[in-house]
Subunit: 485 residues, 2 copies
């Protein structure tokens, strides 16, 4: 419950907090982290968990009590390895780091942010040592976000995806048909974007009686309670996909949060499986649903009415092609579905090198540019659109990025299975019916909480192990026809 | 510092929290109150304070270290008298009570709120017993808001004021000149009201780099950190004084908070003296400044430009008369300066009767109506505009109301002295200069924190003991000319 209070402090910091309140907020969060860590590492809790672990209740690891005992013990055993001072220092550095990052990004000033980033990596190396690992220090950090996953496995999965993706992206680059993306750059007032985004988020099932939408620098979704899930966005009045698909994405996260069992809030049966599974939900609603033609058969007339100056004269098919344009670009959160994973692979490789000290923070801007040239054929003109674009590292979220790609892989597998189970989602979307998919996800994924590991849940739901075949089928099925390949 | 986190939980609950998140928020606040109480009543703190109390540092009670030791010891000695379970139950009941109150007020349904109010009074009686008192159980509760004040003294002060006020209000009621208050009821869009309110709040010195203005049901001001002070309001598009003077009022509180020394944040030298002194600041900016003619000489042209459809054809003097209209009314927060204290006296008497069990909660609506008939000559047609209009009791703030009237008394005394010291505030206001008064208050009151008790500070600053003469001079000086008495 104190963790949910921490979530509110963070949400507020990134939405409404006055400018000069930053340093004290860092102190508040630091203090609270200390109180939380102290309570969670209370030796009495360790004793109770040891006793419970030997009881009958723990036998079935997939039952509610069994999962509770196993997960809490896993967490406890990890936490007691971390010194209190390190936990507090990490929390403080994360808040100060995020504040420095906001400023550095605005002013395109990597140098002002570098000392905090160095400090953060130093602390994360300490954390990896304290936690221990068998193969790679990165394993220890990855486990926080994708419990049970290993660096080597993730590297292999992403390499497999890349092998098939690169030729597809290349073929698209050479295709003669090109979308007219300029139609997406027409003026669209933020207030109307908000209205439309909220309408769509509510239609796919985000419950505004139990949640909110606010404005922030770097969009996120935060659960502040079992009936309090807050999503955020930022508006660009000259490029509406940036906020609209961002809202669908965060609403996808929010629908997962809102689908967790409230009576188990904060405990494993009422918690999400992993960030990869969480991301599978956001990416599915954003892309498989939100960038589908049937979705826009339903919503495009509304959009045209709402802002006819921008969309009144646009044919649906031109719009559909434009929002599915594939084009190597600099900003991850605005990347298309096909090139997105290349952005992830770059970050995944760089953070491994930073954690092992094979790359120095001072050399990060150069290394970043080099990899973008190599994988995407383009180079950022500045750090603001380069290595300063993401909040993650400033907040200590190292080992987080690969979960985005795992999310894409899981999303494609889940969506394919749901489509088969429910007998054709397209016709439903075209009628504005999103509840069958949502209820399917609720039953198969949300309601199960953390009773299965990500890879177990994937197999249980789809009958298939994690792989990239479904994602490639999905991308080819959509992109080859529109690009005339 | 945990208290400031609690402030954020409360602020959020009353501004942005989703509807269904209420019960869990109650649990969060309850848990945090428990953690705070446990830390504050740690016997080691008692030992330290005992040792410090005997040290040289404690000798001068008005020095920073002396005030710190004396105030913290006073607080500690009070707190250890309260059982942990009672503290937690009070916190939980306060949150649930406020939620029930919002609903009950909207639906004019006192019966749905009554059980929680009964529970609250029961707990407050327990609290008074646990704290102890020499004369009246109400003393124990009053001390939380106005440290050192006694029920009997307050009752006497208010009686003195009433004696002079009643004939003045009566004379005004019989005056031939009447203001045209309909000009205040012209349509004025909320967005423009917000813009104007923010401009005025900033002009008198509320710092928006260190604060915010948001919307709520029942306006309040909350300090979330040394550089994070949040004020709130509610907009009535057909009666702008309700939000505008509300904003000035809360900004007055905020200017006090922002004038406290940040390096002593959360400790006595960086804390406010009492609610009475806090209210003296809000009432001074709201009334002595905000309802003065010179203030509007400066601001009225701006208001006329901003909403010419409402004010373009209104002469300044008509406007000035209208915002200073005196008229017995039902809603305390919208009452004029002259009748305001009668609203307070009613609440002050009722809460004393409720705490001593001389009045039952079930009989409150009737007793409320009777007192309004008796003191103000009017009777509320329903409970929403009667005994359900204030949030205080639902939140456990019993003993709080009289501090509003103490605030009016102090405000008049301080303002009279500032006017003399600074050589005529009117001319400054007419030029839009508010910083001389603000800096005077900062030096004489804000920067002194809690180093003096309210009555000591009053005498130190004005050379006079607390009394009602200054307030009566101020009211007569303003009201007699405009009503032609």
């Amino acid at each position: 419950m104190l963790t949910s209070i921490d979530s509110l402090l963070n949400w507020d910091e990134r939405t409404y907090m006055p400018l000069e309140a930053g340093p004290y907020r860092a102190e508040q969060i630091t203090l609270l982290s200390g109180v939380i860590h102290k309570r969670r590492t209370d030796p009495r809790i360790g004793q109770w968990l040891d006793e419970l672990f030997d009881s009958d209740a723990a036998r079935d690891r997939h039952s509610d009590p069994g999962a509770t005992i196993h997960e809490l013990k896993r967490e406890y055993d990890k936490r007691i390895k971390l010194p209190q001072a390190l936990v507090e220092e990490l929390a403080r550095t994360a808040v100060l780091g995020q504040q420095a990052w906001v400023k550095a990004r605005q002013e395109n000033d990597f140098a002002s942010f570098a000392p905090l980033l160095e400090k953060m990596y130093e602390l994360k190396r300490e954390e990896a040592q304290a936690l221990g690992y068998s193969e790679h220090p990165y394993d220890a950090l990855l486990d926080d976000f994708e419990p049970g996953a290993r660096t080597a496995q993730v590297a292999q999965a992403l390499a497999g995806l890349r092998t098939e993706l690169v030729p597809l992206v290349k073929a698209i680059g050479e295709a003669k048909r090109r979308p007219n993306v300029d139609i997406l750059k027409r003026a669209f007032p933020a207030a109307l974007q908000e209205q439309f985004g909220k309408q769509a988020a509510a239609a796919i099932g985000f419950d505004f009686q139990r949640g909110r939408l606010d404005v922030t620098h770097h969009p996120f979704c935060s659960g502040v309670g079992p009936h309090d899930c807050r999503i955020t966005t930022r508006y660009d009045e000259r490029f509406f996909p940036s906020s609209f698909f961002g809202i669908l994405h965060e609403a996808g996260h929010g629908i997962y949060d809102q689908g967790l069992r409230p009576d188990w809030f904060g405990l494993p049966p009422g918690s999400y499986v992993s960030l990869g599974i969480h991301e599978s939900q956001s990416r599915m609603w954003e892309n498989a649903v939100g960038r589908s033609r049937p979705f826009w058969q339903h919503f495009f007339p509304t959009l045209q009415r709402l802002c006819s100056s921008a969309f009144g004269d646009v044919p649906l098919d031109d719009f559909y092609f434009a929002i599915n344009s594939v084009q190597p670009s600099l900003i991850r959160v605005e990347a298309d579905e096909a090139t997105y994973n290349l952005h992830i692979i770059i970050r995944f490789e760089l953070e491994q090198a930073l954690i092992t000290d094979d790359l120095q923070v001072a050399d990060l801007p150069g290394a970043w540019k080099q990899k973008y040239r190599e994988y995407l054929g383009i180079e950022p003109p500045n750090d603001a659109d380069g290595c300063l674009q993401d909040i993650h590292w400033s907040a200590g979220l190292i080992g987080y990025f690969p979960t985005y790609s795992l999310g894409n892989l899981y999303a494609a597998q889940f969506f394919e299975k749901a489509d088969r189970d429910l007998g054709g989602l397209s016709a439903m979307f075209a009628r504005g019916e999103f509840s069958p998919l949502r209820e399917w996800l609720r039953e198969k994924i949300h309601a199960r909480g953390q009773c299965y590991k990500a890879s177990e849940l994937g197999e249980l739901v789809t009958g298939q192990p994690l792989g990239h075949a479904a994602l490639m089928r999905y991308l080819r099925g959509k992109l080859e026809p529109i690009y005339g390949l």
